[in-house]
Symmetry: C2
Subunit: 510 residues, 2 copies
């Protein structure tokens, strides 16, 4: 059998740029996983792991020109965006190095012997240990921050788990390049390069999730692909955790008072957020509840004007462009759906133009309109016009789970007037993992308080893929009972030689 070539393609032209090796066979995947598995022991050293992440950040910086050029050539996301994404990627790596040193993620908990407890309690000491090799499925739309050197890889390495990344076919050259950077960083700090491996090819991804030595998986991508891998992870003889970010509509509610006060600002802001990266963000606001009437009309006019001015651009690949055009067409055909600005094919065979669709919210209870409540990847949003707050609630109750939900409030409402804001937050909270007030969901800050995850299908677990707590996905607790200080790992010794935060006999020592 001849291995299939992996091609880097320029989405601005649709032409092949260069061959990037070949698709991994089952034997290649097995070799990559075994090599990663063998690297667990050296990676168990927390100090070296922090050094690895910082070295990786430094090397990404040193190679930034080549990385940004390569990524731009493969993704057409543009140098400014990719420059920002690379900076973010480095910041993520450094943030996880800080978390390793903080050490609270270890969840160190000690209970000394207590014969008076019910039942009596022996000496118990618990902390968290790495799960093992993590499979990472890279995203199309973030060739850096959610791909080979991205948050899943950074958090897994931080946890002490070697990683095998299944590269996304939309940016294989960037994947190979950044994979080499990470492996170089490992060698620099004295770790085996195989703490990070990269494999290419659809079948390789399927093999990876089934490999007995793979202990967990992280995924960013489509509902269809993510669900198939989730199902495979659950069907294994030994099921493994599958943390997938699958898709999100990211609803926005604009209150009548907000529209009254800021119709033009909201319309323009929406246009900016939904067209950012040519509408290819997982947090793109894809569904907006705007009031009927004059203020809502002004909002729509502002949106229309801004969208008409929006630049055309290529999507990440031809398949996505076809899906976008078909998705817009199917939605536009629905009775009562109008297109104030019709999204569609751009002026050449590669590009698309942004647009929006409108519909009366009262129609959305009918089954044929369910399509409007599904994500359409690319620069389009559905604006549902509502009559009253009941229609907001009933529409929101039909939505699937989301990464984000946003409310646009008036100044008074944002400050607490009439309880509208608190009521809206309470309505939106069950729908999403992040609830925004008077902002736009695109742009996901890297911070301990971040949560990038939400009810299914936006994610397949209750975890986050961005921010400090993303590390929790790759750990499991273990408790030692009646082990002497001499036998315990230093993290669990009474004297706390590493000065780590911990809970001792119920008291927090942070």
């Amino acid at each position: 059998m001849v291995a299939s070539p992996v091609w880097s393609v320029d989405p601005r032209t649709g032409q092949q740029r260069e061959q990037v090796g070949t698709e991994a066979t089952a034997a290649d995947v097995d070799a990559a996983v075994r090599a990663a598995h063998a690297a667990r022991e050296p990676l168990a050293d927390r100090t070296v792991r922090a050094a690895l992440l910082r070295a990786a950040a430094g090397r990404l910086d040193a190679a930034s020109e080549e990385i940004i050029s390569t990524a731009d050539a493969e993704t057409a996301l543009g140098r400014p965006r990719l420059t920002g994404e690379l900076a973010r990627t480095q910041a993520q790596l450094r943030a996880f190095a800080d978390e390793i040193e903080d050490g609270a993620y270890l969840g160190i908990t000690i209970n000394h012997t207590d014969k008076d407890a019910t039942p009596p309690c022996p000496d118990l000491r618990r902390y968290k240990i790495p799960l093992g090799v993590v499979a990472v499925y890279a995203a199309s739309n973030f060739p850096l921050a959610f791909s080979v050197p991205g948050g899943d890889t950074a958090s897994a390495l931080a946890a002490g788990c070697p990683v095998v990344v299944k590269a996304h076919p939309d940016h294989p050259a960037t994947s190979a390049l950044t994979g080499a950077v990470l492996r170089g960083a490992a060698a620099e700090v004295g770790l085996p390069a195989d703490v990070v491996g990269v494999v290419h090819g659809f079948e390789a991804g399927v093999e990876l999730v089934k490999h007995p030595m793979v202990a967990a998986a992280g995924f960013t991508g489509s509902v269809r692909g993510g669900r198939a891998l989730f199902d495979a992870a659950a069907a294994r003889p030994t099921p493994i955790p599958f943390h997938g970010e699958l898709g999100s509509l990211n609803p926005v509610v604009v209150t009548p008072a907000a529209a009254q006060e800021r119709a033009e600002e909201i319309g323009a802001g929406l246009a900016g957020s939904m067209t950012m990266g040519t509408g290819q963000f997982c947090t793109k606001p894809g569904f907006v509840l705007a009031p009927e009437g004059e203020a809502g009309d002004r909002l729509l006019a502002a949106l229309r004007d801004a969208l008409a001015d929006a630049a055309q651009g290529p999507l990440l690949d031809g398949r996505m462009r076809e899906a976008f055009l078909a998705g817009v067409a199917a939605r536009t055909e629905l009775d009562g759906v109008e297109a104030p600005v019709l999204a569609g094919a751009g002026d050449d065979d590669q590009t698309v133009s942004a647009g929006c669709l409108t519909v009366a919210a009262s129609k959305l209870g009918q089954p044929q309109y369910e399509l409007l409540l599904e994500e359409c990847f690319g620069p389009v949003a559905v604006i549902a016009r509502y009559q009253d707050e009941d229609e907001i609630s009933s529409t929101l109750s039909r939505l699937p789970g989301n990464l984000t939900a946003t409310v646009q409030l008036s100044g008074g409402e944002a400050a607490g007037d009439a309880g509208t804001g608190a009521r809206m937050l309470a309505t939106l909270t069950p729908l999403a993992g992040r609830v925004l007030v008077n902002g736009w969901p695109t742009g996901v800050a890297v911070a301990p308080a971040q949560h990038h995850g939400g009810p299914y299908p936006s994610t397949t677990s209750t975890s986050t893929s961005v921010g400090a707590t993303a590390i929790e996905r790759w750990l499991r607790p273990v408790a030692y009972q009646d082990a002497s200080d001499a036998l315990l790992p230093p993290e669990l010794r009474d004297a706390n030689p590493l000065g780590l935060p911990r809970r001792v006999d119920g008291r927090w020592e942070y």
Copy 2:
């Protein structure tokens, strides 16, 4: 269709005691889940939840005579054991009330706006909210502590999740009685009684895990039943977390020096642990690696003597007794397996007697001996005799995941001699969620440092079902972005009006 009756059966006689209602139909399950779902809002009050758990503990105490009598009549576990189990159950409820008030489980994290961050960070505030209705599948072997009023129910209520318990058919009367106690406690503190519901019947259990309003499940039971429900949870249109404790062999390693020093004590201790509760603990030590030679022989002699003296007893039901007798017979038939004390049928049709089986560890690499590495529920353990430390490692590498793993060390080894103890801990840690030194795994203390869970099949997730962190299973994070203090829940306000532990701009305020 006539609903099937649910019978309470006396395992000491095999006779029906009384009818306890009927099996729940799909409509009954739906009604129970909907009623629980409707109780989410009142249960959102943390103060009331703490009161509920304490009221439940108090009412269990007040009803202790009836509860213990009923449970003993249905399970034959004996009054002393059930008295202890009820005390433990009350302690669990009170411990979770304390955790609610401690509040660290909320994981409150605040990041103030930071325009200089990469990327810039808005105001983000994260904490954890309840998932929704939790389905609890009660265990056969703990009619109280892992059943209706047990740890899954207590932790779910503590998290703010209403519960529908699928009662175990081995103790329906106890389930109905304790369910009524919990519902009475809810009414006492002003909550709807439906914060806890109880349903009976196999089909009801299947309906429950598929119900769209069920948001998560907890299970304690067999690998077969647990895996079937895990698969159903994963196959839902919207998959839900399934935290199952399925089965565990609980290996014990006795070093040569430990056998030399304490052969008789270890033999007697093993007999006590493996026959406790007639061998029906999920933490029963079912597989022991003991050295070949004189010291190991002494250990075995002590074990034999203690087992010969062990009282016969009934198992929880007739089906389990049959499975135990068949399991012992199948293992005894294997070439090279001996039975120094043959476990088997007792002196009457209901009871069984305890025993042990021996085999050379060197045989365990052969496929026909895999049965010896599977749990056999009831009072039997396999003693594998090893020649050297390599044989310990190779045997342990064949074991499935476990709740516990134990090493018996000499005094010197326990204090650190020659690194044997640390090496053994490192070998056992990948196998289990709790690693014990010179103890016995039966008896699971309720403490924040406890971890009762381990690699599959011992559990289906990385979580624990005992101890403070069991609450984490029923929560998901949500982050608020740029919401004013007026809109935020009090837990997330700047002034920290509730005085909760939190992390602010990276600093722990605990």
